[in-house]
């Protein structure tokens, strides 16, 4: 009789839950752990790259993706669903923003756009929710959080900030780290983890995280956290790290253009990861 009332996969259960979303979260909680830590001058995203066979060519697969030059993303859960979301995130970046304003969206706006895509899968017919949680890390231009009035390099902008009396946006720049769940809800974090060992990883991060962390420290902590949870060997092939750091003008591919700023987000090479691991 119960199945008589199962009109669709996106119907409330009598207890007020959407069980499909819970199942999607279960998929996430079976996924490989991924984590993110926000530092004062950047953000680190890290995850384990598990391969089922030694024959897999690990160097040509990647779980951390660039969405805009200043925003990167990692996941825990179902790989194929993630790929679809990366495609959609990159697309909305342009259709909803760059092609309108000729600039890339701030992190929060992108997070909201991706969250909408995921929410719609919980309310539409004929679809299932995405079986992934995301960590989205990005850097926004504007006044960085620790800048105080009349103290730093941007007194002009600070005065304007007081004048307009607005919060966030252009006036609130710097790093941000968000988690997006299959339900479409999202949370801003200083540091967090998703996936199989999320709980223990978060406990570890709670102990290790301090205010005023620098990016290099954050990468160190990220690797220590990963070490606690990782199942296999830790090396440049099995650990993937993405960072949002200072602009890398080298990555522009050209030089001599005034005002051109390089991307802040990049995925570290296996050699770079290896170097960090040896210093652990």
């Amino acid at each position: 009789m119960a199945d008589r009332y199962s009109f669709s996969l996106t119907t409330f259960s009598p207890t007020g839950k959407l069980v499909q979303i819970e199942y999607a979260l279960n998929a996430v909680n079976q996924g490989v752990t991924a984590l993110g830590i926000k530092a004062t001058n950047g953000i680190v995203l890290a995850t384990e790259k598990k391969s089922s066979s030694p024959l897999i060519d690990a160097s040509s697969s990647s779980k951390i993706s660039l969405i805009t030059p200043n925003i990167g993303m990692v996941y825990s859960g179902m790989g194929p669903d993630y790929r679809v979301l990366v495609d959609k995130a990159r697309k909305v970046t342009h259709t909803n923003y760059k092609r309108i304003y000729n600039e890339y969206p701030p992190t929060r706006i992108l997070v909201q756009d991706v969250a909408r895509v995921m929410q719609e899968a919980t309310q539409s017919g004929g679809v299932r929710p995405y079986g992934v949680s995301l960590l989205i890390a990005g850097w926004d231009d504007g006044i960085e959080p620790e800048t105080k009035a009349g103290e730093d390099a941007e007194p002009e902008a600070e005065k304007l900030a007081v004048k307009s009396g607005k919060t966030g946006g252009i006036l609130k720049g710097g790093p941000s780290l968000y988690q997006v769940d299959p339900s479409g809800s999202y949370f801003p974090w200083k540091a967090t983890a998703i996936g199989k060992s999320a709980t223990s990883a978060k406990t570890f991060l709670e102990k290790r995280y301090t205010e005023g962390l620098e990016l290099e420290d954050a990468i160190h902590i990220a690797l220590l956290t990963l070490k606690e949870t990782i199942e296999g060997e830790m090396n440049g092939e099995t650990v993937e790290i993405g960072i949002v750091g200072p602009p890398e003008d080298k990555l522009l591919g050209y030089e001599g253009v005034e005002g051109a700023v390089g991307p802040r987000f990049r995925v570290l090479s296996s050699q770079e990861v290896e170097d960090y691991l040896t210093n652990l």
Binding site: R99, Y101, N102, E156, A157, L160, S164, G169, I170, L171
Partner: protein
Amino acid sequence: MSSPFSINGGAAVAMVGKDCVAIACDLRLGLQSLTVSNNYPKIFPYGDVYLGLTGLATDISTVSDLLRYKVNMYRLREERAISPQTLANLVSSSLYERRFGPYFVSPVIAGLNHKDGKPFICGFDSIGCIDFAKDFIVSGTASDQLFGMCEGLWEPDLGPDELFETISQALLSAVDRDALSGWGAHVYIIEKDKVTKRLLKGRQD
């Protein structure tokens, strides 16, 4: 004569000064040679950025309303005021969206950059091609006359008061040589923490 750009008449101009910008428009609304209104302003504020619109009156309303909607949505979504550069790109993409059935307007933007306070002005054609200028932007049925006046009166690094005099004289003199614009003017002087709006009476003939 029956070009949509010159049915209703009107003129607008923007100028860069030292740490300030100015934007001004005339007040006439006409139907060919007949003046219908002598109080039809063509400058619209979007936060602390200003947009001047000349051309077909119906499209002045349509475009200014459309942008008010888009800028309000932007402000709510992003919790910040729109910057002049971003507004310029928004105007451009909105106009180009109507590439094959354009709004018959010639927009002009003036504002100060939020981050560094640098003056910003630009103009557009009716399908959204942006004209970035370091000195001045003119638009409307008196644009030829405005080019001449601005070329003659404008100089770099004018202070707010000198800039007001310059833009006012440029506009007033230009519209006196155009049958389709005039009947007074609105002038905005935009400074870092102050915007001054002045109403110029101008010739009423």
